[in-house]
């Protein structure tokens, strides 16, 4: 009887793993089939107004890039504080936990917050608001990554730096960050992959635009928001464009993820 139960459980959990894989391939295969037939040179060279994706791809990329420019320095320095300057005090562990909580905060709530402080006072949606929502979303991930990666740097390196008389910030920037470079880069890559696929915080902060623009004071084109809008359109051609966008987005994100994993493996 024990052996029978054992067999049953083992088979069930193998089935569960198979089911997980089935979902992954189901999603990837439908994406590929639906997406690839609309991917051609035309959508990369035309804007949404002409049924292309060019402005959306560039817009999404710019938004994520600005989020990186805002979020990464703050997050990294905060991570450095947690690991190097706090000496394990209460405040640091409080911030560490808080940042983990913030990592799981609903992204749409961050969107409403940015709407209240940046969109409502200005009176219309703008690219800056979208980029800042993404930056807020990214911040705790960067903090966590930096914190973890710096923690892996051996103590002897720090002592060696201090022993030759370097001030602490020089030790941090010239020795510790360099030692943890690969890990931090990987973490940043994964954080970038996470925010570039975000939709909810952009819906009512940067909105979407049909035209090509790099003016962040106006509504800004965004691939994910456009996918959301187009996918529910009655026009079949627009739905196909949404699938093409979804296909490009997903494979871009997956490739970044695999690349991040590869870098880590390469190092070990």
């Amino acid at each position: 009887m024990r052996l029978v139960i054992n067999k049953i459980i083992l088979i069930l959990s193998t089935l569960a793993a198979v089911l997980g894989l089935v979902f992954l391939f189901w999603i990837l295969i439908t994406l590929t089939i639906k997406g690839i037939k609309s991917v051609d040179l035309y959508i990369f060279t035309h804007d949404l107004v002409d049924n292309g994706l060019r402005n959306l791809l560039i817009g999404q990329f710019i938004l994520a890039l600005i989020a990186v420019i805002i979020g990464v320095p703050i997050g990294m320095i905060a991570g450095i504080y947690l690991q190097e300057y706090s000496f394990g005090n209460k405040f640091a562990s409080f911030i560490r936990n808080l940042s983990d909580v913030m990592m799981s905060a609903p992204s749409i709530v961050i969107g409403t917050f940015v709407y209240a402080i940046l969109v409502n006072p200005i009176g219309h949606m703008n690219g800056w608001a979208g980029a800042i929502s993404l930056a807020i979303l990214m911040l705790p991930i960067v903090v966590r990554t930096t914190d973890d990666m710096l923690g892996l740097v051996p103590k002897e390196l720090r002592e060696a730096g201090v022993a030759i008389g370097a001030p602490k910030y020089r030790v941090i920037f010239d020795i510790i960050i360099k030692a943890a470079k690969v890990g931090i880069m990987t973490g940043l890559l994964l954080a970038f992959a996470r925010i570039i696929g975000e939709t909810a915080p952009l819906l009512f902060t940067s909105g979407n635009s049909q035209y090509f623009t790099v003016n962040l004071n106006e509504e800004f084109p965004s691939l994910t928001v456009a996918i959301y809008n187009l996918a529910t359109m009655p026009d079949k051609h627009l739905v196909d464009i949404a699938w093409a966008g979804a296909f490009i987005l997903t494979f871009f994100v997956l490739i970044i993820n695999l690349a991040g994993r590869y870098i880590v493996k390469d190092k070990k």
């Binding site: 054992n6 909580v101 409403t112």
Partner: protein, 357 residues
């Protein structure tokens, strides 16, 4: 330079605290008109954007009990046991917000609320004799039900995957499967939504009947979305079980299942429960995967295949077009969502996944 950098690093670390408290404060300020107008009664009022008759004259006294009775009747009929529990949670969250206001029972709330309405009616006689009522019960129930469905679906499968990856599969299988599961977690949620709308929804509708956008589909898509997240966290905590413990159990003749049940699970219990709660928090706040498939109508779900709405979806669909009181009501919903997920996640964080540093 050194002190400067140290100061800078402290300031950066404090931004996290600052942003979180700013989110809370800003949402509260924006939600204030709605909070003042509807109070905690908002949580149990199933009407959203419904225009009701409002009399400014002597009828006020007669009319109010009617309103109260009807709304109480609707909510009582509709509420199920699950919801009662959740409403308690919400009360708890909102008590924090309401600060000094301590409200004991639903009756108190209703009476106070109606008084407030009456007062508002008297103060603003220039309005026509109708007004629009916003209540958050339906999105709150939709959020909770879809999350519960997702958990029912996801927990057994995620456990199975974790067991498979950490105990059953040989390394050359476990590794690629593990990576595949983690890739599943990296797929943007909007893709899950699209897939749910065009493929999974119709598939489910064929089996269970009903339309292809409904509560059940939303719950299942959410479940599929949180499975990889939960599975990889659970696997990680199961992998921390020392081999010595497992080997001694095997040496006594235990089967694999007994080892998992009696050695691995008790050892990794905290991590597993913590990962479930984190996944729950993620499901609560998920927008895009649900927005495509839940239907987005303010409709009380009487059966699983009814379309309904959840808090994030209400926000996503209505935020850009709203202003005034309806916008404030949306901020109220956002605040409720923020507080619920904050409590859920901190609970997981502080009780189960405490940093071992």
């Amino acid at each position: 330079m050194e002190t400067l950098f140290k100061r800078l690093s402290e300031i950066s670390a404090s931004t996290i605290l600052l942003i979180l408290s700013a989110i809370f404060v800003v949402l509260y300020i924006q939600a204030k008109p709605a909070i003042e107008k509807y109070g905690i009664h908002f949580l149990v009022d199933p009407r959203w954007g419904v225009t009701v008759q409002k009399d400014n004259t002597a009828n006020v006294a007669n009319k109010n009990p009617d309103i109260q009775k009807s709304s109480a009747g609707v909510s009582n009929d509709a509420m199920e046991s699950d919801d009662v529990k959740i409403n308690d949670d919400n009360d708890l969250g909102s008590d924090d917000l309401a600060g000094s206001e301590s409200l004991d029972s639903d009756n108190d709330i209703a009476v106070e609320d109606d008084d407030a309405l009456a007062a508002a009616g008297v103060e603003k006689p220039q309005n026509s004799n109708t007004e629009v009522i916003y209540g958050g019960l339906i999105p709150i129930v939709g959020t909770v039900l879809s999350t519960i469905l997702a958990m029912f679906f996801a927990v057994p499968i995620a456990m199975g995957i974790a067991i498979f990856l950490s105990e059953i599969a040989p390394p050359f299988v476990a590794k690629p499967v593990g990576i595949a599961i983690e890739l599943l977690a990296a797929i943007p949620s909007i893709i899950y939504g699209m897939w749910g709308l065009f493929y999974f929804g119709p598939f489910i509708a064929e089996i269970f009947g009903g339309s292809s956008v409904n509560l059940l589909v939303a719950g299942l898509v959410l479940g599929v979305m949180i499975i990889p997240f939960m599975a990889s966290l659970t696997r990680d905590s199961m992998n921390t079980t020392p081999n010595v413990l497992k080997e001694s159990a095997y040496a006594m003749g235990a089967t694999k299942f007994e080892v998992i049940k009696d050695v691995v699970f008790p050892y990794a219990k905290q991590g597993i429960i913590g990962s479930m709660i984190l996944a729950l928090g993620r499901a609560l706040g998920e927008t895009m995967a649900v927005a495509f498939v839940i239907g987005g109508v303010f409709n009380f779900p009487h059966k699983l295949t009814d379309p309904t709405v959840s808090i994030p979806v209400v926000l996503a669909n209505n935020f850009a077009e709203s202003s005034g009181l309806s916008l404030s009501a949306l901020f109220y919903l956002a605040l409720i969502l923020f507080v619920i997920s904050f409590i859920v996640i901190s609970f997981a964080k502080f009780y189960f996944l405490r940093d071992k540093k």
